[in-house]
Symmetry: D2
Subunit: 343 residues, 4 copies
C-alpha cells in the first residue's frame, strides 16, 4: 500500500527538494502540490528539473486542498506553518520543514522569533538519542533547521558521552545560497555571491542558536552555551560546519574517537570518515548523508569536528522524508538510497 | 628616484600578484623576473593577465641574476627562500613571502616545519603595535602568512587592550583556492572544488597556528592558545576569517567596539565597518584592504570578529609592497591605492 | 534475473558516473570495478560520493578480471578501449565510453586520432533515426561523445526532415570542466577556471567534429560540413550547445517547430521545451534528459537550437546505460528515472 | 589641469565600474555621484569595494546636480539617458553608457527598442576605422553595448579587408551575470546561476544584433546579416564571444591572420594573441584589454575568432573612459593602465 502525500510550498527550494525525493519513493503517491502566489502554474515552469512532475499544476495552499492526504509536508516561510497545521486533522501526518515547532522553551522561541509559541513537536533528527523512538507513530514532526542538523550531528556524541565542557562551544558554518531561499534579493544575486564569502547573523543572533543549545543541553544534562556564526559560501548547496568544544579534564583522543564511532556505527546516513579523509560538501550533494571527520587538538585542549551535509537534503527534505519513513513504519532509508552527485 | 626590484618565483600566484602591484608602482622599476622550471619563457605565457609585462622573459633564480637590485622579492616554496636570501648582500632589501623567517621560536619552527630554523626577520604586518617601527629601514622582511594576517588583524585590538582570555580562542577561516598554489593537484581541479567546501589541517596541525599564537602572545603578554581550522572555499581569491575569543570578566560591548575602532582609526588599509554592514571578500578583491565587523555575544561571553582580506593582496603581495614602502621610506600606500574589484 | 556488470576506468569521472547510475539499477549487479594506477584502493577514497560502494576495492583492468560479466563498461582514455575490448568474448556486451569505435570512416578516424582505425560499433544515440533498432541485441556499443550527443540531438530533426542546408552549420558549445577529465593539469585548477571562460580546439580541430558530421550527413543524405567550437565554462557539469544552420529556401518557422516536436514527442529523455522557456544545464544536472528550445531567425534565414545535457549523464554514462537497457531488452528508462538536481 | 566628472546611475554595476576607474584617473576630479532611489545613501553602503569613495553621499539625478561638470557619465537604464542628456548643455561632454544613441537607423531603433529614436552620437569604439577620429573633441559619445564591443572587435578586420561574406555570420557569446544588472530577479539568484549555463534572446531578438550589423555593414560596404545568440555564464564578469564568418572565395589563412594582426598592431587595448595561446576572460578581468585568437577552418571555409573582454570594463566603463580621454585630448590610455586580475 502506498501513502498519499501533499506538498505545500512547492515553488521554493525546500518544497522542490521534497518533491525530488518523493517522486521516486516507492511507497508514496504525490497528491496535491500547492503554493501561494504561484498557484495555477505548471510545476515545469517553477521547478523545471522535476521532469516527471512537469505537467502537474500547483494548487492553492488551503485546508480543503490539503485534506484527505496521509501525509502533508509544509515547506512554508517561518511563521506560516502553525496556522496551516492547526487546520489539519490529527490523523494526518504533518511534517513541518519550518521553524514553528522546533523549540520546546517558549521563552527561547519568543526571544528569537518574536511571536507567540505554537508548541513543540517531535524533532526529526533520529540520530540523536531518544528521537528515533519518539518519531515512531507520531503524527506531527518538526524538521530541524539545516545548521542545527549539521551542528548537532557534529557534537552530539561528545555531549552524550560527557566528554565536552558546556561553555566555549564554538560553531562556524558555511552554507550554500539555497539556504537563503528563492526570493529575489540583491545581495543574493549571482553577481554578488559568486567568487566571495561573507558572514551574517554574527554574535549569537541567528535563530538556529537556541535550537542547537536545546539539543546539546538535553544530551549533556546541563545548560550548554553555543557561539554560532553562519557564513554564506559561493555554492548552491551544502553546509560545512566546523564545531569545536573544550574537552573535559582527562579526556584523551582515543576515547573521543571511540565515542563518535560508537554513536554512528549503525546509522545509515551519518558517517565518521576514516582517519586521513576530509569531508567535502560535494560528496553528499543531493544525498541524505552526513559525513564528518574529527581531530583532538591537545595543545588547545579541544575537539574539532567538521561535518558536511546537503542543506536541502539531510538538512531539510531528506531528513523530513527519513522522519516520515520512521513515523509511518516504513524502512528508514526508503527512497533515500541516493548516492551523492559529484563532481 | 626609483628603486630596482627583482621578483623571483614569478610563475606562481604570489609572484604574479607582486608583479601586478609593482607594474604601476610609481617608484619602482621592475628588473629581473625569475623562475625555476619556467626560466626562458615569456611572462605572457605564464601570467597572461600581466599585459604590460607580457614580453618580459623569465630568468633563472640565481644570486647573479638577483644581484644589483635594490629590492628582491622571494615568492618561493616554503623552505627555499632562506638559502637564496643567504646569498644576497646586506644592502639589498629582501622580502620573503615564504614562511622561512616568520617564527621567532626555533622550537615552534622545527615542530611545524621539520627543518632547521633560519632565524626570524622583522614581521611585515605594520598594523600590529611595534611592527611598523621595526620595518623602517629594515633590509630583511618576513611577509606574514595569509591566514595569520586576517586572524591577527581580527583579534589584535582585543589582546593589546587586555580584553580577551588567552584560552579558547577559536579561529575558522575560509580561503580561496589560490592559497593552495598553482601546482596541478587532483583535489584542486575546478571539477573538484567548484560548488563545494572542505576543511583541511584540522586539529591544530596547520603551520599558520604557531604564527598566530606568536603574534597574540606578544600582544597579550601571556601565552595565547589558538584552535585554528582552515577550509577551502569555491572561489579563486579571498579569506574570510571568523575569530572568536572569550571576554575577560567585566568587559562590555562598548569597550570592545571602542578598542577595535581606536586601533584602526588611522590605518589606511584596515577598517572596522559601520555597525550593520558585513564584510565580504569581494569588497577587498584585488585590493590591499582588510575589512572587519565584530559583535559581542553576551550569552556566550565572547567577541566574534569576522575579517576579510584578499589572500594574494593584503595576505601576501600587497602586504609585502606595503612593508617595502615602509622600509624604503616611501609613503606607505604608494602603488596600493587600488579599489576592490566587484562584482 | 539480473545482469552482472563490470566497470573499468572506475576512478575517473565517466566511470564514477556509470557506477552512480548502476548502483540502484534494479536489474544490475555490480561485479568487478577496475582501474589502472588506482587498483587496490577502496572506492570510498577515490569516489567518496558513492557511499553505497565505499568499501569496494578496485581491481586491475585485465581480461581475467573482466571475464564472466554479462556487461562490461569501458571508461578508459581514448585509444585504450579497443585493445581491452578485443580480449572480451563475443557473448559479452561491451559498452565503450571512449572514442575508439565511433567513427565509421577510417580516413576521418586517422585524420583526427592519428592511430589505426579499430572499426565502428553500433552508435548509442537511440533518438537518432535507425539507431535504436540497431542497438537491440547488440553486443558492442560505441557511446557517443558528449558534444556530439548535444549537437546531434539539437539539429537531427532538421536534417532528417530535409529543412537545413548542409553548409554553414555552426555549433558552439560550453562544457563543464568534468569533460576534461580528472587528471591534474594546471589550466584546469579551480583557481584558473572559476570565474572565467575560454575556448579551445578552435578551427575545426576538435575530434568531435567528424562525429557530428557523420551523424548529420547520414540523416541529410548529403555531406554536411560543421564549424564546431568548444569552450570551457566554470561549472563542474553540463553542456550548453548552440547549434545553428541555414534553412533551405521556403522553410518556415511553423514547419521547423513541427519537425522538432514530432521527432521527440515520444522520446522519454529528449524534450523540446514549451515556447518561452529556455533550457538551463542545471535543469538536467545528474539526469539523463536533454532539453532544447529553438527559434527561427527570419532575418538571418537560420534556425538556432539551444540544447542542454549533463555531459556525464546523457552525454556519457546515462546514454551508455540507456543503450545497455535497449541492448539487453530491458525497459529503456530503467534505472534512469532520475530528476535533475537543482538548484 | 583636471576635469570635473559627474557619474549618474552610480548604484548599479556600470556606474560602479566607471567610478572604480575614475577614482585614480590622474586628470579627473570626481564631482557629483548620483542615483535615483538610492539618493541620500553613502556610496560605502552601495559599492563597498570603492573604499576611497566610501564616504561620498549619492545625490539625486537632476540637471541641477549634473550641471557645471566638464564630463557627465550616464549609466542609466536604457531609455532614461536621452531625457537627461537633453537637459545638459552643449559644452558638457556627455557619455552615455546606455543604448539610446547607438543606432543610426531610426527604423532599426524602433524595431528593437519600441520607442522614438533619440538620434545617434559618435560611437565609442575607437579601434574601428574612422571612429577614433570622430571622437576627438566630440561632446556626445554613445558607449557601445558589451556584446557588440566584443563581436565587432572580433570580426572588424575581416570586414574592413573585404575577406568575409556578408551572410551566415554567426556570433555566440557567453556573458557574466553582471551584464544583466543589479536588480533582484529570481533567475539571476546565485542559487540559480552558479553551476549552470543558459541561453536567452535566441533567434535574433537581442537588441545588440542591429548594433553589430550596423558596425559590420559600415565596414563591409554592404549589408551584413548576423545571427547572434547570447548565453549567461556562471561568472560575475567577462564576455567570451565566438564569432565566425564564411571566407570569400580564395581567401587563405595567411591573409586572414595578417589582416587581424595589421588591424590591431598599434592598438593599446586590443591584442591578437600569439598562435597557440587561447584567450580567457580572466586574463582581462578588470582591465580595458580585449584579447583574441583566430583560426581558419579550411574544411568549413570559415574563420573563427574567439574574443574576450570584461563586460564592465572594455565592454562598458573602460571603453567609456577611453573615449573620454580621446574626446578631451588626453592620452588615450590615461587611467586605464590596469593589468587584468587573475587568478
Amino acid at each position: 500500500m502506498t501513502f498519499t502525500v501533499a506538498v505545500s510550498g512547492a515553488s521554493g527550494y525546500a518544497g522542490g527538494e521534497v518533491l525530488r525525493l518523493l517522486a521516486h519513493h516507492p511507497e508514496v503517491t504525490i497528491g496535491a502540490i500547492t503554493a501561494h502566489s504561484n498557484a495555477g502554474s505548471r510545476l515545469g515552469e517553477l521547478q523545471p528539473h522535476l521532469r516527471s512532475l512537469a505537467d502537474r499544476v500547483l494548487e492553492d495552499t488551503t485546508p480543503e486542498v490539503l485534506a484527505g492526504h496521509d501525509v502533508v509536508f509544509l515547506a512554508l516561510p517561518h511563521g506560516a506553518s502553525a496556522a496551516v497545521a492547526a487546520q489539519l486533522g490529527p490523523e494526518t501526518l504533518v511534517i513541518d520543514a519550518g521553524a514553528d515547532h522546533r523549540l520546546v522553551d517558549p521563552t527561547a522561541w519568543e526571544k528569537f522569533y518574536g511571536t507567540p509559541h505554537a508548541g513543540s513537536w517531535p524533532y526529526g533528527l533520529p540520530e540523536l538519542p531518544g528521537h528515533r523512538e519518539a518519531l515512531v507513530g507520531s503524527k506531527r514532526i518538526a524538521v530541524p533547521g539545516c545548521y542545527p542538523t549539521s551542528a548537532q550531528l557534529a557534537l552530539a556524541p561528545g555531549f552524550s558521552a560527557g566528554l565536552l565542557e558546556p561553555r566555549d562551544v564554538v560553531i562556524v558554518s558555511a552554507s550554500g545560497t539555497s539556504g537563503a531561499g528563492k526570493s529575489a534579493k540583491t545581495h543574493l544575486l549571482g553577481s554578488e555571491v559568486m567568487g566571495g564569502m561573507s558572514p551574517y547573523g554574527v554574535g549569537g543572533s541567528h535563530r538556529h542558536t537556541p535550537e542547537m543549545e536545546q539539543g546539546f543541553s538535553a544530551l549533556a544534562g546541563e545548560p550548554v552555551q553555543v557561539s554560532f556564526t553562519p557564513t554564506l559560501a559561493p555554492m548552491p548547496r551544502g553546509i560545512l560546519t566546523t564545531a569545536t568544544a573544550r574537552l573535559k579534564p582527562g579526556v584523551d583522543a582515543a576515547s573521543v574517537r571511540a565515542a563518535w564511532e560508537d554513536a554512528y556505527r549503525d546509522e545509515p546516513f551519518v558517517h565518521v570518515l576514516p582517519e586521513g579523509q576530509w569531508p567535502h560538501t560535494k560528496h553528499v550533494q543531493g544525498s541524505n548523508h552526513a559525513e564528518m571527520q574529527l581531530a583532538v587538538d591537545p595543545h588547545a585542549g579541544r575537539v574539532i569536528v567538521t561535518c558536511v551535509i546537503d542543506n536541502l537534503t539531510k538538512g531539510t527534505a531528506g531528513g523530513a522524508v527519513q522522519s516520515m519513513n520512521i513515523a509511518l513504519g516504513l524502512p528508514e532509508t526508503l527512497g533515500l538510497e541516493i548516492e551523492g552527485m559529484a563532481p
